[in-house]
């Protein structure tokens, strides 16, 4: 009874095509907005140290949601499997680094968009094999991207401006008179910047997937031959998915290094990160935006919490807890694939369904 669609009639298609057609959803989004814009930046998360809550939970979570959105567009919506996400995020990060060091006056937003575009171009190049191959074959092609690019991040020293450390580091940089990135930037500014980016990117993604282009991706995913016979050009559909996905992943990579870590080496973009992002998508739910949120939060927060709880409550050392969370993640994947291939998002839907009928389940 909390959640019902009866009585909410739409008299225009436009209203039905809105992002949140239901009144209850609008309230939920409003509450989330107040929480993320006011409550969390002021008070942090309950029971956690403020710095820890912002730096180790909130900011990385939001960045990983962008990453997951990107991979989900490719895997969940367009059905093209990729194990190169880590490397594509690296392309975004290195591109951003080059842009802000070559053009020190460049606006951060423009640099971010441009690095997303660079990543999109690289994504399209490595997505080319998808025109002839699918499934595992494509997976191996993306592994080629993964290994080749991480090699390049180490060996092509131009990418990190010939630093002795081999790392890329964010210099202090202002936007509209406020220091946005670098050692002197405040956590709060970075938090708001990432939050706004996340909202904008989520909104854009949800628009695209509900429209013509999003449908063409799902058509290719569900039945590529039928899609082609209806007039979809596989070339355009697949490569646009690669481009759009890599755009998001590239932006997430740049955010990860410059708005969260502060500095990074090639290891931040290695194959284990690709797996991590894949897990976020699978656990959250293939082909779902809400799922991308849930998956990223779950996969990032649960191990962090496990480590904390294990340490404080049971006195286990970090090594044991880390292995425990690795096992847990792997097992989660298997269980989710067996029980509910659509992940947490589907569970959420079922819950909503139940809420609609509550308290009379039949």
């Amino acid at each position: 009874m909390f959640y019902k669609e009866t009585g909410q009639f739409k008299s225009k298609y436009k209203e039905e095509l809105a992002a949140f057609p239901l009144f209850e959803d609008k309230i939920g989004i409003g509450i989330l907005g107040v929480l993320t814009f006011l409550v969390i930046p002021l008070f942090g998360l309950p029971g956690l140290n403020y710095e820890f809550a912002m730096g180790a939970i909130m900011i990385p979570c939001m960045i990983f949601i962008i990453m997951t959105l990107g991979l989900n567009i490719l895997l969940g919506f367009a059905g093209q499997i990729s194990l190169g996400t880590g490397a594509f995020s690296g392309v975004g990060a290195y591109a951003f680094y080059k842009f802000i060091t070559i053009f020190p006056d460049i606006n951060i937003i423009i640099a971010l968009v441009l690095s997303g575009l660079v990543s999109a171009v690289v994504g399209v190049i490595f997505g080319l094999p998808s025109l002839r191959i699918k499934g595992f074959y494509l997976m191996v092609a993306t592994l080629a991207a993964q290994f080749f690019l991480t090699w390049a991040f180490i060996r092509v020293s131009w990418l990190y401006n010939y630093n002795a450390s081999g790392a890329i580091e964010g210099p202090n940089k202002e936007m509209f008179g406020i220091i946005m990135i670098g050692p002197q930037s405040s956590g709060m500014t970075r938090y708001y910047f990432v939050l706004v980016t996340l909202i904008v990117l989520t909104w854009l993604a949800s628009n695209v997937i509900r429209g013509r282009i999003g449908r063409s991706w799902m058509m290719i995913r569900d039945m590529d031959i039928a899609a082609e016979l209806i007039g979809i050009r596989p070339l355009v559909a697949k490569l646009s998915a690669f481009a759009f996905s890599s755009f998001y992943v590239g932006i997430a990579g740049a955010l990860m290094v410059f708005f969260w870590l502060g500095a990074a080496e090639a290891e931040s973009f290695d194959i284990n990160h690709s797996f991590l992002y894949l897990f976020m998508v699978i656990i959250g739910g293939l082909g779902s935006i809400t799922g991308s949120y849930m998956g990223a939060i779950f996969v990032w927060v649960v191990p962090v919490l496990i480590k904390e709880i294990g340490k404080s409550a049971f006195g286990f050392d970090a090594f044991v807890m880390e292995n425990f969370s690795t096992i847990l993640l792997g097992a989660m994947i298997i269980i989710i694939l067996i029980l509910e291939p659509h992940g947490l998002a589907r569970l959420w839907q079922i819950t909503k369904q139940k809420l609609r009928l509550w308290p009379f389940p039949y």
Partner: protein, 260 residues
């Protein structure tokens, strides 16, 4: 239908299609008149579906020509063929299983939609207007095929008969000139077959869509079709009105047995 000199919409001439050493179609020619219902029949493995695949551009015959709207058609990819106004349903249902009925029908409008990625991203102005306009058209088709009640159901969970109907809706959403139906009534019960036949006739008469269909149920073919092509082992066996075909001795020997 039309007794005056009929206009030829499509003509296939001397099609030969081979897969390695296997000959699927051998020297088949026939034509499809504008506005008619043309049936293609034949035993299993006669090359009927392969013929539709050739028309669709999914298979490329080694020899032969396809004439469409009075012009010889160059070798085309399936998506190019779709642009010329040829739509198709499939023998084994080929719906997009992860999408709802309305979304599936909307996919039929893809070719008519053209707003670029930037409008799509904003989903504002021209993009949303386009979406609404095509949504209206799709709702009309859904009404016409009487599937409004399953509009928002994921198609994977629909019963077989309804899935076939959704597939027809998707093909109709393309507003095709030529509609190819591959066994539209396979696996249906009598009632569903009656419904489907009614829809086919209505599409043909109301929208003036030319229809070519493959069907095994002879009663249906004899009732619906204006003219019938019979294939057997990839060769053309007979071509003519249902009556002519029915009384053709070669056809009776090869396939029909006793007409029922």
């Amino acid at each position: 239908m039309n007794e005056k000199a009929p206009k030829i919409m499509m003509e296939v001439k001397n099609i030969n299609l081979r897969f390695g050493g296997v000959v699927a179609i051998q020297g088949v020619s026939f034509d499809i008149h504008e506005g008619e219902i043309r049936a293609i029949i034949g035993p299993n493995g006669a090359g009927k579906s392969s013929m539709l695949n050739v028309i669709n551009g999914f298979y490329h015959p080694q020899e032969g020509e396809i004439w469409f709207d009075g012009q010889k058609r160059p070798s085309m990819e399936p998506y190019e063929v779709a642009k010329t106004g040829i739509a198709r349903t499939f023998q084994n249902i080929a719906l997009f299983k992860g999408m709802t009925t309305i979304e599936n029908v909307m996919t039929g409008r893809q070719l008519q939609m053209n707003k670029n990625i930037f409008w799509q991203m904003l989903r504002y102005g021209p993009a949303i207007e386009e979406e609404v306009q095509h949504r209206k058209r799709c709702e009309e088709i859904i009404d016409f095929l009487e599937i409004n009640h399953i509009r928002k159901t994921p198609v994977g969970s629909l019963p077989y008969g309804l899935q076939k109907r959704v597939e027809l809706a998707r093909a109709l959403a393309m507003e095709p000139n030529l509609l190819l139906l591959d066994e539209p009534m396979a696996g249906m019960n009598v009632e569903e077959k009656q419904d489907m036949s009614r829809f086919i006739v209505e599409v043909n008469e109301e929208f003036g869509t030319t229809i070519a269909l493959i069907e095994h149920d002879m009663a249906v073919v004899m009732d619906l079709a204006d003219r019938v092509v019979v294939l057997d082992y990839g060769k053309l066996l007979a071509d003519g009105t249902p009556k002519e075909v029915q009384s053709n001795q070669a056809v009776i020997d090869a396939y029909l047995g006793v007409p029922h």
